[in-house]
C-alpha cells in the first residue's frame, strides 16, 4: 500500500467536484474514483464523504438522482451542475496558482535570494 497523505482541510469539496466531473457517480463510487486517480495516496474517512456531498448539493453545485449501480443495487448518483462545473474550473485554477506559488517558495535555494 502506498504511503497515504492526510487530506489538506478544505480540499475534499474540490476532490469530489473533480471526481464527479468525469461522469455521474454514487457516494462509494466517488471514493473509489478519488482513490483510483490519486493512486490511493489520499486518505478519506468513508463516512466523512456524505456531509461534504450534502453541502455541495445544498449549494447547488451537484444534483442527485436514484438509480441502479453496477452491483445491481439501488444507489444515489451525483453529477455536476453547470454551476458546479464553473466552480470546479475556478477552484482548479486557484489551486494550481497557489500550489505553484507554494512549490516555488519551498524550492527556493539560498543562492537565488
Amino acid at each position: 500500500m502506498p504511503e497515504q497523505a492526510q487530506l489538506i482541510p478544505g480540499t475534499l469539496d474540490l476532490l469530489i467536484l473533480k471526481a464527479v466531473s468525469l461522469g455521474p457517480l454514487h457516494g462509494y463510487g466517488v471514493l473509489l474514483r478519488i482513490g483510483q486517480i490519486s493512486g490511493s495516496a489520499l486518505l478519506i474517512e468513508q463516512g466523512a464523504l456524505y456531509p461534504a456531498l450534502f453541502r455541495l448539493l445544498r449549494q447547488g453545485l451537484l444534483q442527485a438522482s436514484w438509480g441502479i449501480s453496477e452491483n445491481n443495487r439501488r444507489a444515489k448518483f451525483y453529477e455536476l451542475t453547470a454551476e458546479g462545473r464553473k466552480r470546479l474550473d475556478e477552484q482548479t485554477e486557484g489551486w494550481n496558482r497557489s500550489a505553484l506559488a507554494m512549490a516555488s517558495v519551498l524550492a527556493a535555494r539560498p543562492e537565488e535570494i
Binding site: 454514487h26 457516494g27 462509494y28 468513508q46 463516512g47 456524505y50 456531498l53 445544498r58 449549494q59 447547488g60
Partner: protein, 883 residues
C-alpha cells in the same frame, strides 16, 4: 439560484423530515453494501464483509447528524426537540412554571393595557380619512381651544393654509321623538364640518355649507350610528322624519358611519346639528359676540403647507383682529395643536400621565424580568448536575444554551399570551366604561394589531433577556468539578448577579408601592378637602328650561315655581338654584374691572372671575359659608341696584382686602357698576387641582339664565327624596326633561382624573407588591434549599433558631432592605411628577413613608415565611441520609 436551492432544501427538509431521514439511511446503507460487495470479492465471507464495511465507514450516527446539518435540516429538528424537552422539563416543575408564567402575565398584561391606552390617545391618529393633516386651532399663551364664532368666521374666510376650517361646540338638548323628551348630547357644528372631516353618511345625507342661511335657518340633524341603533331601532326610514329638539321641529337627514364620533376622542355625541341653530338648541345665540369664546375649531391643512407656514398665516389674521377689535381681541394669537384631546387642554395632562404610566408599566416588566431572571438562574443552578452530565456526555454548550433559551422563550410566550388575554378583557371593560354621569364618554382603547404585536415582542424580548441570565453559569460550568462535588458553591463572593437583580426588583417594587400610596392618600385628601360647598346630603336636579320651550320672561317664574315646589317636599331644609354647579363639566368665567376703570378692553381687566347666577338660599342649600354681609333676596331683581356676593380670593384680587369688601363696587365688561353685598369662603370651581380662583355669585333675577341646576338639601334618604322630587317636578310640567342625582355622584366627573390616576397607580402598586413577594420568595427559598444541609448540620450541632434564621435568610433580608431604601428614595423623587395629576399628592407625608416601610416589611415577612419555616424544620438526620 443558490439561495433558492438552499431554501428549497430547507423547505423540503421541514415538510418531509422523516422522508429525508429514510432516504439518508438508505443511501448510507447502500454505500456500506457496495463496500461489502468489494470486500466479499477479496474472499471474505458476507457476514465478515458486512462487519468490516461498517467499521470502515466510521461513526454512522455522527456522520448522519453531520449530513443533516449540511442539508440544513438540523435547525428545525433541534428546535422541535428543544421544545419537546423544554415542555417536558417545565411540566416536571409545575410550581416554577406557574410562578414564572403568572409573573410574566402580570408584566405583559400591564404593558398591553397601558400601551393600548397610549396607542389610542397618543400614537394612533384619529379614525378619519387623512387624519394627519387635521389640526385644531388654539388661542393665546395658555393654548385655550375655545374661540368665538366671529373670530372663527374671520379665520375661515381669511386663511390661505386650510382646505377647510370647521367649528363645533358640545352641548346638551332635549330630544323628543314623539314620546318623552330625553336629554341628549350633541355637537353643534358648522355646515362644512362633515366635508372638512371627510366622512360619508351611513344613511341619508349630511348637511353642508349650502344649507346655512343665517340663524335658525337649517332645521336638520344627523344621528350617530349608536344612537340610531339604540333610540330609533335602526329604522332605515328615519331619514326624512321629524323630531323635536327643545320643542323645535328638526328633520333627521341621515345617520353617520359606525365609529364616527367627530374629532374628539373622549366624546361620543348622540347627534349633530347646525351651529347656526344655536338659539333654538341652547336658548340663546352666542354666535354674534366676539367675546364669547366657546367654539372649537378643526381644520384640514392644504397639501404642502407646513405647520409653521400655517401658524404664520394665522398670525397675520390675529394681528388684523387685534387692530380691528382692540376691545375683545387685543394681543390675540393662534397656534396649531393635534386634534383629539381638546387640543393641549386635555392633551397635555393626558400625554404626561400616559407617558408616566408607560414608564411605570415598563418598570413592572423590568421587575418581572429581574424576578424571572433570578428564578431561572436558581433553576439552572439546581440543574447544574444535569448540565454537567450532558456536557460530560459530549453535548455542546451551544445546544445546552439553546435548550435553556427555548425553555425561557416558551415560558415568555405562554406568559405573554396569558397577559394579553387578561389585558384585552380589562380593555373591553374599560372601553364601555361611563365614568361621568349622563355624559357620553367614549374611551376607544380596544386592542388592535399593534397592541398584540408590541405585547408579543415584549414577551419574546423579555424571554430572551431573562433566558440569558443563566448563560454565564453554563459557560463557566466545569462538568468534572460539578459531578465530583455535588453542587457549585458560591461562598466567598460578596455579591452575585442574582443579588443585584433582586435589589433592582425590590427597588422597583418600592417605587411602585410608594407612588400608589401617595396617589391613594391624595385622593382621600381630595375627597375630604374643602370644596367650598357640602356635597353630602344634597341632591341636584339638572335641566335646561329651554329644552322644554321656556324662554324670555317665562323662565324666571318657572324657576321660582320649581324652587317653591321642591321646598314644599317634607324634610327639605333648603333649595337653591344656580346656572352651573361648581366642579361639574364646564364653567363660566367673566372679566371684571376696577370701579375707576374707563378702558374696558380685555387686557385692562382686574381679574377673570368664575361666575355663577344663583337664587336666594343657594348658599344655604349648597352649604357655602357666608362669612359676612347678606344673602340675596327675591327683591334683588332688575329694578334693584346690581349686587354680587364674592369669594375671599375675589376680594383680595379686586380690593386687596377681605374685611372691607362689603359695600364696595366693581364693574363688569359692559361697564355697569356692581356692589358687593356678601363675602363667602373660597372653594374649588373647575378642577380639584386648580389654583385658587376668584368667584362671584350674581342674583339670577338680574342675570337670567335658562340653564337650571337645583340643589336640594335634605337629610332624607336620597332614593325616596329623588322620587318625591320627580313626582312634584313632573306635576309642574310633564314635558320638562331633567335628571336627578346625589351631589356626591355628580362630583364623579370632577374627581374622574384623580380617580383614574389612583386606580391605575393602585393596580400598578399591587402588581409591584406581588412581584416583590414572588421575587423575595424565590430568592429566599432558593437560598434555604441550597443550604439546607448546612442548616441541618448547624441544628444538629445545637444552633439556636435565631442563628439558623439569620444564616438562612440574612442575605435575602439585607438585600430587601437595600432595595427598599433605594426604592423609597427614588419613589419620593418620582412622586413629584404625580403631584401634577393627583390632587394633594405629596411624598413627604409621614403616613405614606410609614406605609411604604410597613408594606415592604410585610412583604418581606410574607415572602420569607415559608422558606424560614422550612429552614427551621430542617431535620439533620433526613438530610444527611439523602446525600
Amino acid at each position: 439560484m443558490r439561495l433558492f436551492a438552499s431554501l428549497r432544501s430547507a423547505a423540503n427538509s421541514l415538510f418531509r423530515r422523516s422522508g429525508t431521514n429514510n432516504e439518508l439511511d438508505e443511501e448510507l446503507r447502500s454505500h456500506i453494501q457496495h463496500r461489502a460487495d468489494d470486500l466479499e470479492r477479496t474472499g471474505l465471507s458476507r457476514a465478515e464483509a458486512d462487519r468490516r464495511a461498517c467499521v470502515e465507514f466510521g461513526g454512522y450516527v455522527r456522520f448522519k447528524e453531520e449530513s443533516h446539518g449540511a442539508m440544513g435540516t438540523r435547525f428545525v429538528e433541534h428546535l422541535i426537540s428543544d421544545i419537546q424537552i423544554g415542555l417536558r422539563s417545565l411540566r416536571k416543575s409545575p410550581g416554577f412554571t406557574l410562578v414564572a408564567i403568572a409573573t410574566l402575565a402580570l408584566g405583559i398584561g400591564a404593558n398591553a393595557v397601558v400601551f393600548s391606552i397610549l396607542n389610542a390617545f397618543i400614537l394612533k391618529p384619529l379614525n378619519l380619512p387623512g387624519a394627519e393633516s387635521l389640526y385644531m386651532i388654539e388661542r393665546g399663551k395658555d393654548n385655550s381651544p375655545m374661540q368665538s364664532y366671529p373670530d372663527y368666521v374671520d379665520l375661515r374666510d381669511g386663511n390661505r393654509s386650510f382646505d377647510g376650517l370647521a367649528a363645533y361646540q358640545i352641548s346638551p338638548a332635549g330630544l323628543d321623538t314623539g314620546g318623552n323628551p330625553t336629554p341628549a348630547w350633541l355637537y353643534e357644528v358648522s355646515g362644512n364640518y362633515f366635508d372638512v372631516l371627510g366622512t360619508k353618511p351611513y344613511l341619508g345625507r349630511f348637511f353642508h355649507t349650502s344649507d346655512e342661511h343665517g340663524p335658525n335657518s337649517s332645521p336638520y340633524i344627523v344621528l350617530s350610528y349608536n344612537y340610531w341603533q339604540s333610540h330609533f331601532q335602526a329604522n332605515p326610514a328615519v331619514a326624512g322624519s321629524t323630531v323635536l329638539v327643545n320643542k323645535h321641529p328638526f328633520t333627521v337627514l341621515g345617520v353617520a358611519q359606525p365609529g364616527f364620533y367627530g374629532s374628539e376622542l373622549f366624546y361620543a355625541p348622540q347627534f349633530w346639528a347646525p351651529i347656526v341653530d344655536q338659539e333654538q338648541i341652547e336658548g340663546w345665540n352666542g354666535l354674534n359676540s366676539r367675546g364669547n369664546r366657546s367654539t372649537w375649531l378643526v381644520g384640514r391643512l392644504k397639501t404642502g403647507i407646513t405647520v409653521s407656514q400655517a401658524t404664520t398665516d394665522l398670525q397675520s389674521i390675529a394681528t388684523r383682529l387685534d387692530k380691528t377689535y382692540p376691545k375683545e381681541d387685543s394681543q390675540i394669537s393662534f397656534s396649531l395643536a393635534r386634534p383629539g384631546l381638546a387640543g393641549d387642554m386635555l392633551g397635555g395632562p393626558v400625554r404626561a400621565f400616559v407617558t408616566a404610566l408607560m414608564l411605570l408599566a415598563g418598570l413592572i416588566l423590568l421587575a418581572a424580568c429581574a424576578n424571572l431572571g433570578s428564578l431561572f438562574a436558581a433553576r439552572t443552578a439546581d440543574r447544574s448536575r444535569e448540565v454537567a452530565l450532558r456536557l460530560a456526555l459530549g453535548s455542546s454548550r451551544n445546544r445546552i444554551l439553546r435548550q435553556l433559551l427555548t425553555e425561557a422563550v416558551l415560558v415568555s410566550l405562554t406568559g405573554g399570551a396569558a397577559g394579553i388575554a387578561c389585558g384585552v378583557t380589562l380593555l373591553r371593560w374599560l372601553s364601555t366604561w361611563q365614568p361621568v354621569p349622563n355624559f357620553p364618554i367614549n374611551l376607544p382603547v380596544n386592542a388592535d394589531a399593534r397592541v398584540y404585536l408590541v405585547s408579543m415582542l415584549l414577551a419574546f424580548a423579555s424571554g430572551l433577556l431573562f433566558g440569558l441570565v443563566p448563560l454565564r453559569q453554563v459557560l463557566r460550568a466545569n462538568p468534572y468539578q460539578v459531578v465530583k462535588s455535588g453542587s457549585t458553591s458560591e461562598i466567598g463572593r460578596r455579591f452575585s448577579f442574582r443579588d443585584v437583580l433582586l435589589v433592582i426588583q425590590v427597588a422597583v417594587c418600592a417605587i411602585l408601592v410608594t407612588s400608589s400610596l401617595v396617589a391613594v392618600r391624595g385622593l382621600m385628601r381630595s375627597l375630604h378637602s374643602n370644596f367650598g360647598f357640602q356635597p353630602q346630603n344634597a341632591m341636584v336636579v339638572d335641566t335646561d328650561l329651554d329644552m322644554a320651550g321656556y324662554n324670555g320672561d317665562r323662565v324666571a317664574p318657572m324657576q321660582r315655581r320649581m324652587i317653591d315646589t321642591l321646598q314644599s317636599i317634607p324634610g327639605t331644609t333648603a333649595v337653591g338654584l344656580t346656572d352651573r354647579a361648581p366642579l361639574s363639566l364646564g364653567w363660566n368665567t367673566s372679566v371684571v374691572f376696577d370701579d375707576n376703570a374707563t378702558d374696558f378692553s380685555m387686557s385692562k381687566a382686574a381679574a377673570e372671575s368664575m361666575t355663577y347666577m344663583v337664587s336666594p338660599a343657594y348658599l344655604q342649600a349648597a352649604g357655602t359659608t357666608l362669612l359676612s354681609g347678606r344673602d340675596f333676596t327675591w327683591h334683588d331683581d332688575r329694578n334693584a341696584p346690581r349686587v354680587a356676593i364674592v369669594n375671599r380670593e375675589f376680594a383680595r384680587k379686586l380690593f386687596h382686602t377681605e374685611t372691607n369688601a362689603i359695600g364696595r363696587y366693581y364693574r363688569s365688561l359692559d361697564g355697569s357698576r356692581i356692589q358687593v353685598v356678601g363675602l363667602v369662603e373660597d372653594g374649588k370651581y373647575m378642577t380639584l387641582t386648580e389654583d385658587q380662583q376668584p368667584a362671584m355669585f350674581l342674583p339670577v333675577l338680574q342675570s337670567p339664565t335658562s340653564a337650571t341646576w337645583l340643589i336640594v338639601r335634605s337629610s332624607r334618604d336620597p332614593q325616596q327624596l329623588a322620587s318625591a322630587m320627580e313626582t312634584s317636578l313632573h306635576a309642574l310640567d310633564p314635558g320638562l326633561p331633567f335628571t336627578i342625582r346625589t351631589w356626591t355622584k355628580e362630583l364623579n366627573s370632577a374627581l374622574f382624573a384623580s380617580r383614574v390616576a389612583t386606580v391605575a397607580l393602585g393596580v400598578l402598586g399591587g402588581l409591584g407588591a406581588m412581584l416583590a413577594i414572588t421575587g423575595i420568595f424565590g430568592m429566599a427559598s432558593y437560598s434555604v434549599s441550597k443550604r439546607l444541609r448546612e442548616l441541618g448540620i448547624r441544628i444538629a450541632l445545637g444552633a439556636q433558631r435565631r442563628e439558623v434564621l439569620s444564616a438562612a435568610l440574612g442575605r435575602s433580608l439585607r438585600l430587601l432592605t437595600i432595595g427598599s431604601v433605594v426604592g423609597v428614595v427614588l419613589g419620593i423623587a418620582a412622586t413629584r411628577v404625580l403631584a401634577y395629576i393627583v390632587y394633594q399628592a405629596t411624598p413627604r407625608d409621614p403616613i405614606v413613608l410609614a406605609g411604604v416601610v410597613l408594606a415592604m416589611l410585610l412583604l418581606g415577612l410574607l415572602a420569607t415565611w415559608i422558606p424560614a419555616a422550612r429552614a427551621l424544620s430542617a431535620d439533620p438526620l433526613i438530610l444527611l441520609r439523602e446525600e
